[in-house]
Symmetry: C2
Subunit: 159 residues, 2 copies
């Protein structure tokens, strides 16, 4: 099958922001991210689930340095955006498994989830694509997660 997984990366410089109670109507996420873009806040991972209810949550990450400004901007726009809660967690780590052709090898994502499960590490958020599986976990587990994923995908042997 070749080396599908190329590496495991870890970012500890981001905060997780969760906006809940967002109406599932056109225009709602635009109303969140347009002001943030205007303020020059670099949003990295954005995740939003599909929902059967009227409202949903949006999770995204921003640089730690932008937490105060982000909070201020969004809180000032609470009525405009129409969200219920804004929660910011600075204690996260963003772990990514990077590779190629991972869609046709869906076992790759399952393997990442399984590895973290066996370590008792809770997965807070997930976003995947064909070349990247990204999860948010508690920062204290960063090294353990990276080391274990590295070993699970046998990455040291590729060196």
């Amino acid at each position: 099958e070749g080396e599908i997984v190329r590496g495991v990366t870890c970012s500890q410089e981001e905060a997780k922001v969760v906006l809940s109670g967002i109406q599932d109507q056109p225009g709602r996420v635009a109303s969140v991210f347009t002001p943030l873009a205007t303020a020059g806040i670099n949003v990295d991972m954005i995740v939003q689930n599909a929902t059967q209810q009227e409202t949903t949550e949006v999770t995204f990450t921003i640089p730690l340095n932008d937490v105060v400004r982000c909070k201020e901007i969004l809180n000032n726009l609470r009525e405009n955006i129409g969200f219920h809660d804004l929660v910011i967690d600075k204690n996260v780590s963003k772990i990514s498994v990077v590779g190629i052709g991972m869609r046709s090898h869906s076992g790759v994502a399952a393997k990442a989830f399984q590895t973290l499960a066996e370590l008792g590490i809770n997965i807070q958020a997930i976003a995947t694509s064909e070349i990247k599986i990204t999860v948010l976990i508690d920062r204290k587990f960063s090294e353990l997660a990276v080391r274990s994923l590295h070993s699970r995908y046998e990455l040291e042997k590729a060196g």
Copy 2:
């Protein structure tokens, strides 16, 4: 700034699967995706929000051909995985804006959301990375969405 956005892609061959009521405890998503991987079902986009509650939802896409099998496998494992509802929507389109360095140009994502908002197109799910912004929308809006995003990012001029 250079050409950050390189293209807009559209996939109409996937179904959206939403599992709700999943316990936010280690091991829960592994219990969903391991059996799917074992069954050879190619899971593409996986999205899971961070939650403040005890349960959360997981959204993912699979090839339309795998819908029946996926439903069967997950329903048989309902108690094992511990989910509340399984909803499958075959009427979606997966639209991706592909580029580079999009993290440091967070206006790119905002622009995509704004474009869809102005068209009244509801965004059902979102997963982004530095090189890809992916949304799920109602299939009937596929051409309109792609055409409008193409034009918004001025992609025809790059030809």
